[in-house]
Symmetry: C2
Subunit: 235 residues, 2 copies
């Protein structure tokens, strides 16, 4: 599952709903790291426009294309979902017919009250416990869900400076979690941490609401670092 | 509200339920910083024994005494509550008659499933939203509740090395929050951050469950740092 050399075409990562700030930021960082990135959007034209913008920013060696969401989904077996919470369910219901068995869905959805007209600094309660667990209920059998990338500033991601934050990765599939940690560690300045089972996404998602509150209060781009763990806890 | 010079007796901090690791750790750090600390316990003898241990560790200039919880509570107007969640309600119902108007109750209670025989890596839901909001419902009028010190390793606190973590402080009383941030910043290596209203303790408390899970998985003493905020956000 590791990315190949520059000469071998690497398995693509489809960033579904990838025209928003978080999706474009992840796509940019992965494109710079040599990953083959597909931006997915409801409208193919919008996806292509975003892909072109990322391609230009990432440089001539980058490999970024744009496709309609379900086409992007069918073309990749690593799916990165970066949509607002209110769009997650309908999108997954639409895309499940395009997902192939053995695929990995990395979910960064954060259930914020902003989805229902409330504050972005307040989380919503999700019946399943977290947006990631909701996603796990919606994907076809044989697709693994990983929760990650909730606590990383989209603004900083779509920039040039190294990040200064950790990405906590939660999943019930250890291989999918490891692949996701490898992808996270390709972003300069990011350390990936095994956060345990998917149910722990409940807490990781809520941290985003706290960070948004800190950003509003202190005018920053907050992230978190986990301290006090032995070096082998980070990768 | 700032602590005086070494010559003026400073207002005491009563660490209620202070014979556990978190309480003893905070007491030690504050004693070293020149604060006048009272350890509270259900049993006066146990409080005095803990106080003597802290006094010895903190050095001859430290000022640590031990009292029964309600006596400690009546003797101080800064109350630091470090008890397991299952003991919080009964203790506050008992102590409310000893609290004086204008007091500050700093609550570090974390509602963990361990309180009901479950895992310490899983939070419990609290009807009021958080243990801190439950505390706010139980204290007499005129007592301000501040939520803080949830995410700091008790083991590391009761040691000699500087900490490497931030303390997120949540309260509806800005003055009480500021005093608490000042107390947090007296612990070497700790930065205090204004985490906004008391309701945000919901998230800060849950982070502890995540950190406990990380400690179990990675054998560490996890804490958090918030990155990406301007310097004036920390104190």
């Amino acid at each position: 599952m590791s990315s190949g050399s520059g000469l071998v075409p690497v398995r693509p990562i489809a960033v579904i709903g990838g025209t928003g700030p978080a999706g474009m930021g992840l796509a940019l960082r992965w494109a710079r790291a040599g990953e083959n990135v597909i931006i997915g959007s409801r409208e193919e034209g919008r996806a292509q426009k975003a892909a072109a913008a990322i391609q230009e920013k990432a440089g001539p060696h980058a490999n970024v294309t744009g496709m309609e969401n379900s086409t992007a989904c069918a073309a990749a077996d690593i799916l990165m979902l970066t949509v607002p919470f209110e769009g997650q369910t309908a999108l997954l219901q639409q895309l499940k017919f395009s997902m192939t068995e053995g695929s990995i869905l990395i979910d960064a959805t954060v259930p914020l009250a902003a989805s229902v007209g409330g504050r972005a600094s307040r989380p919503l309660g999700v019946w399943q416990g977290s947006a990631a667990q909701q996603a796990a209920e919606l994907v076809p059998k044989g697709v693994s869900v990983v929760a990650a990338f909730h606590n990383i500033s989209a603004d900083l991601l779509y920039g040039d400076a190294p990040l200064d934050c950790d990405v906590i990765v939660c999943s019930d599939d250890p291989d999918a979690a490891q692949l996701t940690r490898e992808l996270a560690a390709k972003i300069p300045g990011v350390r990936a941490i095994d956060g345990g089972k998917l149910e722990n996404a409940r807490i990781v998602e809520q941290i985003t609401a706290l960070l948004i509150g800190l950003n509003i209060r202190h005018k920053g781009h907050a992230g978190i670092r986990i301290t006090g763990l032995p070096p082998n806890a980070y990768r």
